[in-house]
Assembly symmetry: C2
Homo-oligomer: 182 residues x 2
DNA sequence: AGAAATAAGTCAATATGACTGACGTAAATT
DNA sequence: AATTTACGTCAGTCATATTGACTTATTTCT
């Protein structure tokens, strides 16, 4: 047994009933770009798998990664804004944030203007981890964009951006600091 | 308060300490394509949100969706192959699969050659739901690819494909039935 | 100055999706 | 006949998320 993922899936024999009910896998007229749906699934699955291994060493999960990433990228971000980016509840954030703070990956400082706020910053340690994780994802992204035709990387950017809910796009554009977004 | 997602994130004032420690958000030399990392996150977040709403009406979650999707697309798939596609354990699959079978979205038939196998098929009802969910994702994908330059959609396909672990690519290519993969 | 709104944290209870490890059964393979 | 395979299942656990209610401190509004 190799460690290849799913092998003999094509060895299957369709049952008679199946042949009756299904006109082959793409019985919906090929209008449906199933391939993109599935490619996105697999691409994202593997995209998140690199950091997972490192995070496991710290007893962290993906939730920690997301928090760490956006805090590192947006030093001084407010809890409320982080909640809206991640689209999770205060309670969900609270747990992972507490762990990150307790273990000295993130620190909180009262807002200088509004002292109710607890602005979030990565510590040196937190920043290092954030960068380390980003590098992993970056490597994969670079490998994936490397041998694309000229300008294709920008097409990918545009595609991904347009996959986002229209009303969320302005905020994402700001957050992501897109090189040029019309 | 509008229902826009994360607004005043750019209104924050960097603390003195922050300015000392951070040379701005992109202190890592711009080698790191942070934008792609984040765009992928947001794109995938919204990509999965459309089906989620429908699934909730049936008391299903994303796990059900994935199973339903791959069974619908690969009628007669074996449990083992499905496990390898989804990269989850038998127990995790078991729970959601049981619910889908009990509620008549998926049916199991003994393999005609190997009677140990329980080949999986969507029922009419299951197929309808699968298509309905795919259409939602399809719409978003079409909107996103629509105004891309010529050939850009293929660049996106290639990009996504190359984001996948190299050793998983042959299997994905087979499964996804890519139009043309060199 | 007092009332209302906001930022953040917290409590309790719950759900979902995942995990490990062990075991059982039927059927196929050697 | 022994072993392997395909699948299912039991028991226990964990991580991540949810809702709703409540507290505290602080700011803003009137």
């Amino acid at each position: 047994m190799t460690d290849v993922n799913f092998k003999n899936q094509s060895d299957r024999i369709p049952s008679p009933d199946e042949k009756a009910r299904f006109g082959g896998p793409a019985q919906e007229p090929d209008e449906l770009p199933y391939d993109l749906i599935e490619l996105l699934f697999f691409a994202y699955r593997d995209f998140t798998s690199d950091p997972d291994d490192v995070l496991a060493q710290f007893d962290f999960g993906r939730a920690h990664h997301r928090v760490l990433h956006f805090v590192d990228r947006n030093p001084g971000i407010k809890v409320t804004d982080l909640l809206n980016i991640l689209r999770i509840t205060k309670q969900s954030l609270g747990r992972v944030l507490k762990q990150l703070v307790d273990q000295d990956f993130i620190e909180q400082r009262p807002g200088p203007l509004d002292r109710r706020q607890r602005l979030l910053f990565t510590t040196g340690k937190g920043h290092d981890l954030a960068v380390r994780l980003s590098r992993l994802q970056t490597k994969r992204l670079e490998r994936a964009t490397m041998d694309l035709p000229d300008g294709a990387a920008d097409a990918v950017r545009q595609f991904l951006f347009q996959m986002i809910d229209p009303d969320a796009r302005p905020d994402v554009a700001k957050l992501v600091r897109l090189p040029s977004q019309p």
